[in-house]
């Protein structure tokens, strides 16, 4: 089976799991993203077919919501909280530091595919601000000095 047809087959299973109706669009896209780490074009096409809606409807939803990515994302996803509480505690300086250390901007992936950088409007852990969520782990009261240590630790864990 080619890569594209395997993506399509998996997507069809996801659509079926959610009952096949177009009202499950968001949940279907969430599951696709969870499976592939982003929304591959083949998956969106297959989803449109399986849900019997025009491709434009799927594309509209996929591009409207910020949680969805049409581009492949890194193995580790770094989310910098830019909520108000984190903002007044220096989140933008922290974002600059991550950009410098990883040499990418938010929405981009490092060339080796290890890291993606994203910003999120608030993760609701305001007491810990500034907060950075890496994959599912919350890092609180992050300072610029800690950034390189955090990145190095993840790189080491990945190498093991």
């Amino acid at each position: 089976m080619t890569k594209a047809s395997s993506i399509a087959a998996t997507t069809k299973k996801i659509v079926k799991k959610h009952g096949g109706g177009k009202s499950a669009m968001i949940a279907v896209l969430q599951d696709i993203q969870e499976t592939f780490n982003y929304l591959p074009k083949e998956a969106l096409k297959a989803a449109a077919q399986a849900m019997k809606v025009p491709f434009s409807r799927v594309y509209e939803a996929a591009t409207f919501y910020t949680a969805f990515s049409l581009k492949p994302r890194g193995k580790n996803i770094v989310k910098i909280c830019t909520g108000t509480a984190c903002h007044v505690r220096g989140a933008s300086a922290l974002q600059d530091k991550f950009e410098r250390s990883l040499c990418i901007k938010p929405g981009e992936m490092t060339p080796d595919g290890q890291f993606s950088l994203e910003t999120v409007n608030c993760v609701g852990a305001c007491a810990l601000g500034p907060v950075v969520v890496i994959n599912t782990e919350y890092h609180g009261q992050v300072t610029m000095a800690k950034v390189d240590k955090i990145i190095d630790k993840i790189k080491q864990e990945g190498a093991q």
């Binding site: 009202s23 509480a85 919350y138």
Partner: protein
């Protein structure tokens, strides 16, 4: 028609009491998202292992958020209720051998008042908790949110039992009306009026929705309720469903709250199993079930019609509301949409009565409100206070004031739709109407405290940049207007502001507020208008003097090193990404202003506060 006058939740509770009694010894540990980030789950594991090692049969329960997030992880030893803060795994053996085994207190783990240095044993002694009235949020500390039994023991589902056996739907609506409950999501609309509208509306089926799309940055009380006491929301929704004649409910949860989704799913499954959700609830002919829908990161989905669109599987674009949601909401059917905190208030009103409920609060705003007190504040966390508590009490008595000896500047309420309130207005009682009068709003309850190092123009710029990203783009005033306002504010912060900018911002604000389709655009100018109103001099300093008084806007500040304070330790040289700092060891360093990008790395690294920002 009811065929079961026995309220089954009472029976369930009585059976459980045998196991739970008020004098039961157990250890509660906060496992909200905040405390989990501090490592509370590791502390929990250590507690369990140590109790086993010391042969003690004592339960350890991971509760929802206890509110005092500043001092996490928190451990409370019951029945004495000793309150330990910032507990580490290494503290565990002592906690078990001294406090759990012998009831001895470990004073180093107690809260110490920063001024009087007095240690405090229990929650109720501490200034953070003392003035609070935690009727909605307080149960969090007593229950494991993943166990329905824990909720039943604290009178859970008693209200539902009462409603189904003794009350008519109209009676329920009347009770909520008498209580004076208003929506906790921001607008403050009267809940009973909404319910009445849906009850009377034509069209079947009817829907009940809990809005858990807590999008205001800096607000996390809904998350803590969904994570910490999911059954209270579910019970409220079932009662709401009965009152309006709906058999189906949805909880729309933010994508960023995975733990809330997990706990709600567990709670819904448990409620179904107990016969509290599903067909013929508690043996009556009333059926009701709840589904969970996850958002996908769009702020506008907190708006009612956008939220419906999202549940229906479309892009979350709002529509004009010539016809209200109570008549045509989800799938164009009559729909009640209330915030999760509003739903959690409902069982309370039924259990304790409308008279009790309406005795709390102010003339126009009844009951309590949960706020998230965050930003530049000593005691960060979630507080629940009676409506009408003053901002001063919240920020200074509970919040403990501003850390680091800095000066209070403003408190931002209402999220991106709200405004900044200055020091001169700290005496106002917080309720729906008062906050609106001073140019802000209640919102869902975020309170972000700012000190003299926060630039108010930068705050306005921040919110408009946020709203520019989140505007769905459907209507022109919001899409283009916010973009233009954001551009002007970026210019002012970059030192490129011009004389007429303030007037232009004010004029545009009016047009955007008048012309936008939904509340996102309608209230978008509030952060700008309130900061112009109360902090006009900061705007003028940026525009006329090219100066940022708070030292935030990078284009308008320069860094220099105070030779008196600098010890020549070399740390700032090490951290500077552009090699702008230089100097010999043990001699005062200097900063090359042309190379400096004002990234702040040197300020963070300097232990002697030798970096000046002007």
């Amino acid at each position: 028609m009811k065929n079961n006058s026995d309220t089954q939740p009472q029976q369930l509770k009585d059976d459980l009491k045998l196991n739970y009694g008020p004098n039961k010894k157990f250890v509660a540990i906060c496992a909200g998202t905040g405390c989990r980030a501090y490592g509370s789950l590791k502390v929990k594991e250590a507690l369990e292992a140590e109790l086993k090692k010391q042969n003690m049969n004592v339960d350890v329960i991971a509760t929802g958020c206890l509110g005092f997030c500043e001092k996490g992880p928190m451990v409370v030893i019951h029945p004495d209720k000793y309150f330990y803060q910032s507990v580490k795994v290494t503290d565990v053996p002592e906690i078990v051998s001294k406090t759990v085994a012998k009831g001895e207190v470990i004073s180093r783990l107690l809260y110490r008042h920063p001024d009087t240095k007095k240690t405090m044993f229990r929650e109720e002694d501490m200034p953070f908790y003392k003035k609070q009235l935690r009727v909605v949020f307080g149960s969090n500390g007593m229950i494991d949110p993943t166990k329905i039994d824990d909720y039943l023991v604290i009178n859970g589902y008693q209200a539902l039992g009462k409603v189904l056996s003794e009350m008519t739907p109209e009676g329920v609506i009347n009770e909520v009306k008498k209580a004076g409950l208003r929506g906790r999501g921001g607008g403050g609309f009267h809940t009973a009026v909404k319910w009445e509208g849906v009850r009377k509306a034509h069209g079947e089926p009817k829907y009940v929705i809990a809005n858990g799309d807590e999008g205001d940055p800096g607000a996390y009380m809904d998350r803590s309720l969904m994570e910490g006491n999911p059954h209270s929301i579910i019970e409220g929704m079932i009662i709401g469903g009965y009152a309006v004649g709906a058999n189906e409910g949805y909880i729309y949860v933010r994508n960023e709250y995975p733990l809330a989704v997990t706990h709600l799913n567990i709670a819904i499954a448990a409620a179904r199993e107990a016969g509290l959700l599903g067909k013929n609830i508690l043996g009556t002919d009333f059926s009701f079930d709840i589904h969970i829908n996850k958002g996908a990161g769009a702020f506008v989905c907190g708006e009612s019609s956008a939220l419906f669109a999202s549940i229906e599987g479309r892009a979350g674009e709002p529509r004009a509301k010539y016809v209200h949601a109570v008549e045509k909401g989800l799938w164009d059917k009559p729909t009640v949409l209330n915030n999760v905190e509003t739903w959690a208030n409902v069982p309370l009103i039924i259990n304790k009565g409308a008279d009790w409920y309406s005795s709390i609060g102010t003339e126009g705003s009844k009951g309590t409100k949960i706020f998230s007190l965050v930003g530049k504040i000593m005691n960060t966390g979630l507080i629940e206070v009676p409506m009408g508590t003053t901002l001063y009490e919240i920020i200074y008595d509970m919040g403990g004031g501003i850390p680091g000896g800095r000066k209070f500047k403003a408190v931002q309420t209402g999220g991106p739709s709200g405004g900044c309130i200055p020091e001169s207005l700290l005496d106002i009682p917080v309720d729906f109407d008062k906050l609106y009068e001073v140019g802000s709003m209640m919102g869902s309850g975020g309170m972000i405290v700012m000190d003299d190092t926060s630039c108010m123009v930068d705050v306005a710029r921040y919110f408009l940049a946020f709203l520019k990203e989140e505007s769905c783009g459907k209507c022109v005033p919001c899409r283009e207007g916010i973009r233009r306002m954001s551009d002007i504010l970026e210019d002012i912060c970059a030192g490129k502001g011009t004389e007429g900018d303030i007037n232009l911002l004010e004029t545009m604000s009016q047009a955007i507020a008048d012309g936008s389709l939904c509340a996102l655009g309608g209230s978008a100018p509030n952060p700008v208008l309130s900061t112009i109103k109360y902090f006009r001099e900061e705007y003028e300093a940026h525009i006329k003097d090219h100066r940022c008084p708070a030292g935030v806007c990078k284009a308008l500040i320069t860094y220099s090193i105070d030779p008196e304070k600098c010890t020549g330790c070399g740390l700032c040289i090490k951290v500077c990404p552009t090699q702008a700092t230089s100097g010999e060891k043990k001699k005062a360093h200097t900063i090359d202003k042309d190379k400096c990008t004002r990234c702040g790395a040197c300020i963070e690294s300097c232990k002697f506060e030798a970096i000046n920002v002007k």
